[in-house]
């Protein structure tokens, strides 16, 4: 029988398991497609593609100064992305990183303003502790609500974001606004409360803390007993319960850790960058954190890489505007595109095309 006599038809079907390297490929492909889409937007705005992209790259990584500023932009989203990851591994969707971040910022400001004469190491330790408390409580509430009444943490965490945002607005317009201050912001925190800068730039120790936390989370999740229990509950709560793992304890632990991590990010942004509390502290870092978590395949190393990539995008796009006139809101467009592309690729990679020979 000739080969051409054979009839085939093609079927699309779900894979039984997705090879690990497919996931990496998907992430890389997502970045590539996002850059293509960005390219289309750049062309649309009339600039030259090569000028725009080289400006983007130079602005992001083209000099020591650029790299440092990229890392500055990467720092807050590293924290919020990491916060999502630790909750996600226990099968909790924490969309409250934005609010937890802000709450951490509030806590650090409180320490900075209330205890101006503390030596720097003590002040910083206290700030971080206060932030951890604040974030942990903001993570505990949705966990308790899901445990006690089955309320979806997706909704509760989003709602709690609003609570903090308005609380912050209130603080900076009223009790914490100095008498003679025109703008809605607090006084500057004492110099002894600020976080040390690195390499003579805006980059502060928050970045180092973020890397350290990522590696700690990595170790915790895959190398410890409690990390195994966390993943086990995320994968199969019933089987975990049959083996004596307390689902409720794990839920509370993961959400509290998640909130605490986001909050430390907020503390860093205050004490490392702005040195005062104002309403514009967060440029939507909590939401960008979701994209970071997706792009980073909910893995701490992936978070580090994608937060630096996005930091580069944000940083580079302001240079790109100066050099070529392309709007820096392109970075926001990139974000949205990246998210959509990642989600599509995530779905596509689950399937395969199979060729079936038709006989008789």
């Amino acid at each position: 029988m000739l080969k051409s006599d054979r009839k085939y038809h093609y079927k699309i079907e779900r894979r039984s398991s997705v090879p690990f390297w497919h996931e990496i490929l998907a992430a890389i492909l997502a970045i590539a497609i996002t850059l293509l889409i960005g390219g289309a937007l750049i062309l649309q705005s009339g600039a030259s593609l090569s000028d725009a992209y080289s400006a983007l790259f130079v602005g992001a990584f083209g000099s020591k100064k650029a790299i440092l500023e990229t890392l500055v932009q990467a720092t807050p989203i590293l924290f919020t992305g990491l916060a999502m990851v630790i909750a996600y591994r226990a099968n909790y969707i924490n969309l409250g990183a934005e609010g937890q971040f802000l709450f951490g910022a509030i806590a650090a400001t409180w320490v900075g303003l209330s205890f101006p004469s503390l030596p720097k190491p003590i002040s910083i330790s206290l700030q971080i502790t206060a932030a951890i408390f604040a974030g942990a409580i903001w993570g505990l509430i949705p966990a308790l609500m899901r445990i006690k009444v089955g309320a979806s943490e997706i909704i509760v965490t989003v709602m709690l974001n609003f609570v903090v945002q308005y609380f912050l607005s209130y603080l900076v317009s009223n009790p914490w606004r100095p008498e003679n201050e025109f703008y809605n912001q607090t006084a500057k925190i004492a110099t002894s409360a600020t976080w040390p800068n690195l390499f003579d730039s805006r980059l502060h120790i928050g970045f180092i803390i973020g890397i350290f936390l990522s590696l700690t989370v990595l170790y915790l999740i895959w190398n410890t007993k409690i990390g195994f229990e966390l993943r086990s509950v995320g994968e199969n709560p019933t089987a975990s319960k049959y083996k004596g793992i307390s689902i409720n304890k794990i839920a509370i632990l993961s959400m509290m850790l998640s909130g605490a991590i986001a909050a430390i990010g907020g503390a860093g942004e205050i004490s490392g960058i702005h040195h005062r509390l104002k309403p514009t502290i967060s440029k939507g870092y909590g939401w960008t954190g979701i994209t970071i978590a997706l792009l980073g395949r909910t893995h701490p190393i992936g978070i580090i890489i994608s937060s630096i990539f996005f930091g580069g995008l944000i940083n580079g796009s302001s240079f790109m505007k100066i050099k070529t006139g392309v709007e820096s809101s392109l970075a926001d467009a990139f974000q949205g595109a990246a998210m959509i592309v990642v989600l599509i690729l995530l779905a596509v990679v689950q399937y395969r095309v199979r060729r079936i020979e038709v006989n008789g």
């Binding site: 038809h9 079927k11 079907e13 779900r14 894979r15 039984s16 398991s17 895959w222 190398n223 410890t224 007993k225 409690i226 990390g227 195994f228 229990e229 993943r231 086990s232 994968e235 199969n236 019933t238 089987a239 975990s240 319960k241 049959y242 083996k243 004596g244 395969r352 199979r354 079936i356 038709v358 006989n359 008789g360």
Partner: protein, 505 residues
């Protein structure tokens, strides 16, 4: 004049990914015939039935119904043609009653569902076949056997001339099984045809006209039942000679290991409560627990393994009070458990095999020191178990989901037995397993006794209990209604007790 076959299937092939579940299957069912599709678990019987019924789409092949070719792209095509199916796992709306469930899927014009007409029609059918069915009780409060009758009547009502029954007696008592087949034979007289999917040889021999044996997705043979015997069919099913009997070594019975005294509990999601359940279990013994689903087996299992709270009474294990201890404490004391639903209650399907094997063992050395996981020990343990239990897997990093049912059960067994427990509480340990794996599990449970350990065997399969157990207790509506050595009570009496009837002493 030979009648036309009601169903002719040629070259049905169906694959899922790399797995070819049905390979060029050809099958013919005569009109008015009871045709059995026989094969072990995993042979492809249910897949084939679901293809005929239109739930799955085949890769290729064709189907003739009453001589004319029809294309079945969904169950509604099958139903319109006259094919009905009663699935292994029922597809009824649990909050609706029998009449409402039967009304679903009837194509009619207008807004009114016409429930009263349907109810009258259903009453007629019940009268015709002498079926007793409470028509206004919600399905969730009905027994498994009643639910099955609803499925059958539903198929009849939608005009089925060929009924596919998938493992219909898996969860029935001996009496209910008799009643079912009695009705099937009556319906056969009236011209209905049946495709009966089963792995129970006795039923095949007693009730069928012809048998098609499937093995690994292929048709091995189609024979007239009168021309063959059980051993022949077993050999066809498995592919080589297989001894159907399991050897039992005599083991000395020791002291009382587990004493359950008057425990009461209210099931998690059920309304059923266990009431004053008491029994003892001795070292070296296998105690069977029989009962129809929904009468307390799940609650008893959950109570004894620490998943469910016990409200009253005591559980004493090895002379120590253990009621309401959590699973971790029970594992340390030497109690292991094999849950009925290995996928949802026992394994981490998306994780590597070595992590499924760690579940429950991750508290202890050498896997962890309480804080840190020792990865080399995890790998070593996994490799050990894979070898010891001949689990078919390429490496400990293979994802759990890719294993077959038999290998998944071996994973669970190897994990549970690794700490040499004193008591194994096993619930339906061979459900869905092929013959070889079933034998493996049975042999493991029997050899454990030789070390003085005991087994509490909760099972739906009376044959399994009779193969393995020394004694058995019977649960009905959350109470124990029978407690006897195996050799002193007949299976049919057990069936009666399971159904809540009393037996002559």
């Amino acid at each position: 004049m030979k009648n036309q076959p009601i169903l002719t299937v040629s070259n049905y092939t169906k694959s899922f990914g790399d797995v070819i579940a049905n390979d060029s299957i050809c099958l013919e069912i005569e009109s008015g015939e009871i045709h059995c599709l026989l094969g072990e678990n995993g042979a492809g019987k249910t897949t084939f039935a679901e293809c005929v019924f239109g739930y799955y789409q085949t890769d290729c092949g064709k189907l003739l119904f009453n001589g004319s070719e029809i294309k079945i792209s969904s169950p509604s095509d099958a139903i319109s043609a006259g094919i009905g199916m009663v699935h292994q796992h029922f597809v009824l709306a649990r909050s609706m009653n029998a009449v409402e469930n039967i009304a679903v899927g009837i194509k009619r014009k207008g807004i009114s569902p016409g429930l009263s007409k349907i109810e009258n029609d259903v009453k007629e059918i019940c009268k015709l076949y002498d079926i007793e069915l409470p028509l206004s009780t919600p399905v969730k409060n009905l027994s498994v056997s009643d639910q099955q009758w609803i499925e059958i009547i539903k198929a009849l009502y939608l005009g089925a001339k060929l009924l596919i029954l998938d493992e219909p007696t898996a969860v029935l008592t001996p009496q209910e099984t008799e009643k079912l087949f009695g009705t099937i034979l009556e319906m056969k007289q009236k011209g209905f045809s049946f495709l009966l999917i089963t792995h129970k040889l006795k039923e095949v021999m007693s009730y069928s006209d012809r048998v098609t044996v499937l093995r690994k997705g292929r048709v091995i043979a189609t024979v007239n039942t009168d021309d063959v015997n059980e051993d022949y069919l077993a050999e066809m099913m498995v592919g080589n000679e297989i001894s159907l009997s399991t050897k039992r070594k005599k083991v000395a019975i020791g002291d009382c290991l587990l004493s359950v005294q008057d425990i009461s509990a209210i099931g998690e999601n059920t309304n059923l409560s266990l009431n004053d359940v008491s029994f003892d279990l001795y070292e070296g013994e296998i105690l069977g627990v029989a009962g129809v689903s929904g009468n307390g087996k799940k609650e008893l299992f959950d109570c004894l393994v620490g998943y469910q709270k016990i409200n009253g009474g005591k559980v004493i294990f090895d002379n120590e009070l253990i009621s309401n201890q959590n699973p971790y404490q029970l594992i340390t004391k030497g109690i292991a458990c094999v849950p009925p639903d290995r996928i949802h209650q026992g394994l981490l399907m998306n994780f590597p095999i070595k992590e499924s094997l760690m579940l429950g063992l991750h508290f202890f050395k050498p896997i962890s020191n309480g804080f840190r996981i020792n990865h080399s020990e995890v790998d070593k343990f996994a490799l050990d178990q894979i070898n010891k239990y001949q689990i078919v897997a390429s490496s400990p990093d293979q994802i759990t989901q890719t294993l077959s049912g038999g290998n998944l059960q071996k994973l669970i067994l190897s994990r549970e037995l690794s700490r040499s427990p004193k008591l194994i509480v096993a619930y339906s340990p061979t459900r869905g397993l092929d013959v070889a794996s079933t034998k493996f599990v049975h042999e493991k449970l029997l050899t454990i006794r030789e070390t003085g350990a005991s087994v509490l065997l909760i099972s739906e399969d009376l044959d399994e209990i009779y193969t393995l157990a020394d004694r058995l207790i019977i649960l009905y509506r959350g109470r124990i209604v029978g407690n006897s050595p195996i050799n002193k009570i007949a299976k049919s009496d057990v069936g009666l007790l399971m159904a809540g009837c009393s037996i002559a002493k």
